[in-house]
Every structure is written in C-alpha cells, then in structure tokens.
C-alpha cells in the first residue's frame, strides 16, 4: 500500500550504494536524492527498505540509508554485540560523510538507534523523527514493556504488530526464492543475536535521554500491541524537546499501515513547520 501510493511520487531513483569499512564491519549505505542530509534508520523487519519511503524523502533530502549489521551487504562481525556497538559504527559513518544538521527518521529499532546516536553525540543532529520506537524499558521488573515476538505463534505476533494483520508486507513469504528466504533468515538471526537479552532495550539509555536536546517527534500507532501507546508517550515525556502523536488504525509500524497520515506529520516535522 505504501509502495503503491508512492509509485506516483515521481523521478526518484537510487543514486548510489556505498560499502564503508568501519571498524571490523562493512556497512552498505544506500544514498538517494539531494538536499539537507536525512539519516534513514530502518526497522528490524526492513519494511522501510522495500516500499517507496526512501524515495519519498529523497525528493527533498539527501537520504543516507545504512543497512544494519547482518542486513543486505552489511556484515555482522563478532565485535558487534549490541545496539551500543552499532551506534559507534554509525557515528563513524556520519563522520565519514561529514554530515551536519542531520535529520533522522528512525523506525522501531531504528528509532532506538537514533536515540543511542543522539545521546552519544547530539552535535550532528537537527531533529529526530521516531516511529514506533523501541530501546527503553519504562515499567517495573514484572511489567512486559515489549511483547515477546519469539514466544508466540506467528499469527499472534502479527496481530500484535499490525492493526490489520493483512497489512504486514511479510504476511506471506511462501513465494520467496530460497536465496531471498536465506537472506531474510540471516537478518532475523542478526536481530536475535543483538537484541534477545536485554530484550530490545538498553537499560542505560533511559538515564541519558537528557542529551537528546534536538526537537523530536514520537509517532506511534494507536493500536500498537507490541508496545502500548503509553510507551511512546513515556518516551516523549522523558525527552527534553519531544512531542507525541498517535495514528489511528495503525499498529507498531504506522508508516507501513497508514502512510498518508504518517507522511503528513513526518513531512511537516522534518520541514520544521510550526506546530512541531
């Protein structure tokens, strides 16, 4: 649905793909468009890399979309064991391109990565757009802040993540070629390796959020069952300059399920229009 809508967006094409050698890793970076830099941080499922979202942003910005370690041509060396490790790679990547005044669009674990980057070095960043963020724990020891995607049957997990399970672009993978299926399986293995425990969060991050001093918009689907909407609100409250917005009839990936209202809010925020 996102892809269909954005097909009409016009003359976008992938300009470049770079492979950067950073520390022990090789990182694939897709670049597109011209304008102020926008760092595009994809989710654990990589939905954002498949649709037209990069193309949409590339109409106004120079988009840098690095693949997480284990995704695409990005390698996952033994030295990368946490989101913390990835953040230092990505800071190097920003230095390598000499980026300043960076807008960030982060999705799910990509939003978590955005927060890790901004707490470690706020200087390069202009503003953060966080869609369905993960990476923090707000509740107590007995609270399940983030539902367990590994424990439950596939259908139930899909219903947690999507308001309409049929909207999951990966709902039916039976047609994948063996090569694509293997690549997808490797990505899922990378996610498990990095985020199994602590489960999709960094216990230290919450104590550092004061350093996220740039304007931030937290977007969450109102019907998100992976994290409750209170999760996004809790994050926005803890950030110095953040606002929260909920999107109706959307689960954990509002940019996938409800692209029109999502992009309306995202574009206005990234453009720095009043009200954000």
């Amino acid at each position: 649905m996102l892809g269909d809508m954005l097909q009409t967006a016009g003359a976008y094409r992938v300009a470049d793909t770079d492979i950067l050698k950073i520390q022990q890793a090789r990182i694939e970076v897709q670049r597109a468009g011209k304008g102020a830099p926008l760092l595009f941080l994809h989710s654990e499922d990589g939905y954002e890399l498949e649709g037209g979202l990069i193309g949409h942003f590339a109409q106004k910005y120079e988009v840098f979309a690095p693949r997480l370690p284990g995704f695409g041509k990005s390698t996952l060396p033994e030295s990368i064991r946490s989101m913390d490790d990835i953040a230092y790679l990505w800071l190097d990547l920003i230095d390598r391109y000499g980026l300043k005044g960076v807008r960030v669009a982060g999705f799910s674990i990509g939003a978590w990565l955005a927060l890790e980057l901004a707490t470690k070095n706020p200087d390069p960043f202009d503003r953060l757009l966080l869609s369905g963020p993960l990476g923090l724990k707000f509740g107590g020891a007995y609270d399940r802040d983030i539902e367990d995607i590994y424990f439950h049957p596939t259908d139930r997990v899909r219903a947690m993540r999507f308001h309409d399970p049929a909207a999951d672009p990966h709902a039916d993978l039976s047609g994948l070629s063996k090569r694509r299926a293997l690549a997808y399986a490797k990505e899922r293995e990378a996610v498990a390796k990095l985020f199994w425990d602590p489960y999709f969060h960094n216990p230290s991050l919450t104590h550092r959020l004061n350093r996220v001093r740039m304007e931030t918009l937290v977007v969450a689907g109102r019907e998100d069952g992976l994290t409750k909407p209170v999760y996004g609100r809790s994050l926005a409250r803890k950030l110095p300059r953040a606002k929260f917005t909920g999107i109706l009839n959307a689960g954990h990936f509002p940019h996938v399920e409800r692209p029109a209202p999502f992009l309306k809010k995202a574009d206005a925020f990234l453009a720095g229009r009043k009200g954000f």
């Binding site: 993978l173 299926a181 399986a185 498990a192 199994w196």
Partner: protein, 399 residues
C-alpha cells in the same frame, strides 16, 4: 557394551489433546498434581535402584517448564541415586552447558557427586533443545559457542589443583576459580555430549576423548554420524576411536513373548506420541541452521523431526531401531544388527519407562533385559585403551 536405564520423568496426566497446544513452556502448572507427582518421582527413583541391583547403569536428564520432564535439575536425581545405588555408573546427560547461569557451580556439584558416588559419575553436557532458550532466556545464536566454552572451563576447573585461576572469556567472567572438592576420578569424570546432525561437534567430542551420544535417531542417520566421525578421524590422522566413544538411546521393551513386548513398547511410545510443541518454540532464530529457519519463515517447516516421527508409527520405529523390542533373543539380535549398521557403539541407553507405566511393567522389562539380553552383548564392542584425547597417528613415510 554397557547399558543404561533412562526415564525422562514425564508427567503423564495431561488434559485432552484439544485442551492444550504444547507440553512445553506454556502449559500451566495447574495441570500438575503434587500428590500424584510425589508418588511419580519416588516410583521412578526406585527404578534406578532396581537398575543398579540388576547391573544396569543409570542416566538422568533435565528440562525446564515442561510436562515432558519433571526434572528441572538433573543434579537432584543424580545426587539421590549417587547415594541409593552401589555399583552403577551414574550418567547425567546432561548439564545444559549453554544455559547454565554459573558453570563453576556445575563443576562443584559434579565434583561432589563424583565423590559421594566413589567415582561413578559420567558427566554429560548438552547444548539444550531449543525450547530451553525460552526458560533460560539464553540467546539462541550463542549456544554452540557457549557449550564448548563451558565444557572447557569446567574441565580446567576440575583439573586445576594449585589454587585460583582467572577466567574472563566472552560469556563468563570469574576472577578466582578454585573448585572444592576436586573430583574423585582423576584427572576428571568421563565427559559426554549429545548431538544431531552437526558432524563438527561430534568430531570435536570424540577427538577430545569424550563420548558422543544420539537419541531416538533412525539407524541410517545414526550410521551417517558414527561412521562420519570415524572417517573424519582417519582422514585427519587420529587414532581410531573405540566403540565406547559412541552411545545411542532407543525406546526399549523386552517381553517373554513378542505380543507382551509390543504391548509394553506401546506404553513407552507414549513419549513420542504425546510430545507436542508449538513450531516457533522449535525454531528460534540462530538456534537451528539458517536454511531450516528460512523454511520456518516461509511456512515450509511446521512440525520438525518430532512431528514427522510422531506420525510414522511403531513399525517405522522398529525398522529403524529407534524402538527395540521383542523377546530377549530378538532384542539382542536387533542390537547386534544396529551395532553392525552404524559401525559400532559402546553404550546403549534404554528408555524403559515413559508415560503412565507402572513400576511392575518396567521391572519385568528391565529384568528380562538385564538377565537375558545384556549377558549376550557385554563383550560386544571395543574399549578405549586410555583416558584422554585421541592421539594423532605417526605418519609413515613410504620410500
């Protein structure tokens, strides 16, 4: 060849099949009745005492959050039978090495039990089935590496007798390791591991001088692995491993007649037919091979090996030596045939008990085995000449 008795301490009083989706992980403990359970524990522990009296060794294991196995610690029954048996080798197969919160505590417990049993401990370490990862919260992508790091740390802890050493590895940090007591057996108790289709792991086990065991595996796949290890040793210049480096566990029932044995093995078969689990618990990412996980994601893998064999039935099991049953002579003949097909093995771990079998049924089957089968097979197979890793053969130069 030597022989072990095994029961998995399964909880047999399950709700009707449509009332639950899995025996493992999410079955509420309201299904367990402590009064019946206490009797069950004691009845199975009595089986091990009987095995010892009959000259059969004892094996215990552990699983977590499951009705398939009421031992969330194998150490507890192992400690009990260490005192209650006199002669049997007592095998734990195994300690869940990859999931242990504290491997040094495991080294300590095993050393204690080796002393209490006067050196009868056979100490197994396992990677753990995938279900265990949800109970332990251990990362599925790390288990193979953790298994061997843990085994090597425990062996070093057992063999170090000159005060504390430092260990700061990838997973475990201990700055002052100094295990008391030291094991009774010197240099340390025999070590076992289990495996499926991972030949590298099996070869590593055997070349280090440990015993490699497989459970409920059809004969062709058993042969592929046991012969595969022997071929690898030969190709890489190692001495030939003796048969006692290989072990196999089938379901076993012996009767005075074929009919009686068949009726008993049907009861042991309960373990297979009731072993229900949900697919996602069998395939956490990074535990299974990537290609199998890809099949799971694309909907091509739903049940796995356990479901496949559940549907095959008893005849399939007998033909493939996964279930060995019959009159004493017939059972001895089946074990000899299996020994030949797989290139030899030195330990047969007989699952004599499962489900709601009563003590008398197990007693009769095990007694017939001990008195009429085991004596026919004791001399079968070769023994290692010494303890420790396999030696490299000296190369002979041909002029």
């Amino acid at each position: 060849m030597d022989f072990y008795h095994f029961s998995e301490f399964a909880w047999p009083h399950l709700p009707s099949d449509d009332q639950f989706t899995s025996m493992r992980l999410n079955l509420p403990s309201s299904v367990y009745d402590p009064k019946k359970g206490a009797d069950l524990y004691n009845m199975i522990l009595d089986q091990y005492v009987l095995a010892d009296e009959l000259g059969i060794n004892c094996m215990v294991n552990e699983h977590h959050q499951t009705a398939t196995c009421l031992n969330p610690s194998g150490v507890v029954p192992l400690a009990i039978i260490a005192r209650q048996t006199k002669n049997a080798r007592i095998l734990i197969l195994g300690n869940p090495a990859a999931n242990l919160a504290d491997p040094i505590r495991c080294a300590e417990e095993m050393a204690m039990i080796d002393n209490i049993s006067y050196g009868r401990l056979e100490c197994g370490f396992v990677r753990g089935v995938p279900y265990e990862l949800f109970a332990s919260n251990r990362n599925p992508t790390e288990t193979s590496e953790r298994l061997w790091d843990t085994i090597e740390l425990i062996i070093k802890a057992w063999m170090t007798h000159n005060g504390p050493f430092n260990y700061e590895g990838k997973w475990i940090h201990k700055r002052q390791v100094n295990v008391w007591p030291r094991p009774y057996q010197q240099p340390h108790p025999p070590v076992w591991t289990t495996g499926g289709s991972d030949l590298v792991h099996a070869c590593r086990t055997v070349t280090k001088g440990h015993t490699f065991a497989m459970f409920l595996t059809p004969a062709d796949r058993l042969a592929k692995m046991f012969k595969g290890v022997r071929a690898w040793c030969k190709d890489n210049g190692y001495e030939k491993p003796a048969d006692d480096k290989f072990a196999f566990m089938p379901l076993v029932a012996v009767g005075e007649t074929e009919k009686e044995a068949r009726e008993v093995v049907e009861q042991v078969f309960w373990y297979v037919t009731n072993n229900k689990a949900e697919p996602q618990h069998r395939a956490p990412p990074g535990y299974v091979e990537t290609s199998l996980y890809a099949d799971f994601l694309t909907g091509k893998f739903t049940g796995g090996r356990t479901d496949a064999i559940r549907t095959q039935g008893m005849e399939y099991f007998r033909e493939n030596h996964v279930a060995i049953y019959g009159t004493p002579d017939n059972v001895a003949s089946q074990i000899r045939a299996l020994y030949g097909k797989v290139g030899g093995f030195g330990h047969l771990i007989a699952m004599f008990h499962s489900g709601d079998m009563d003590f008398g049924t197990v007693e009769k089957s095990m007694s017939l085995f001990a008195k009429k089968v085991a004596p026919q097979l004791r001399d079968l197979g070769t023994l290692s000449k010494r303890f420790g890793p396999l030696r490299k053969r000296r190369s002979i130069k041909v002029a």
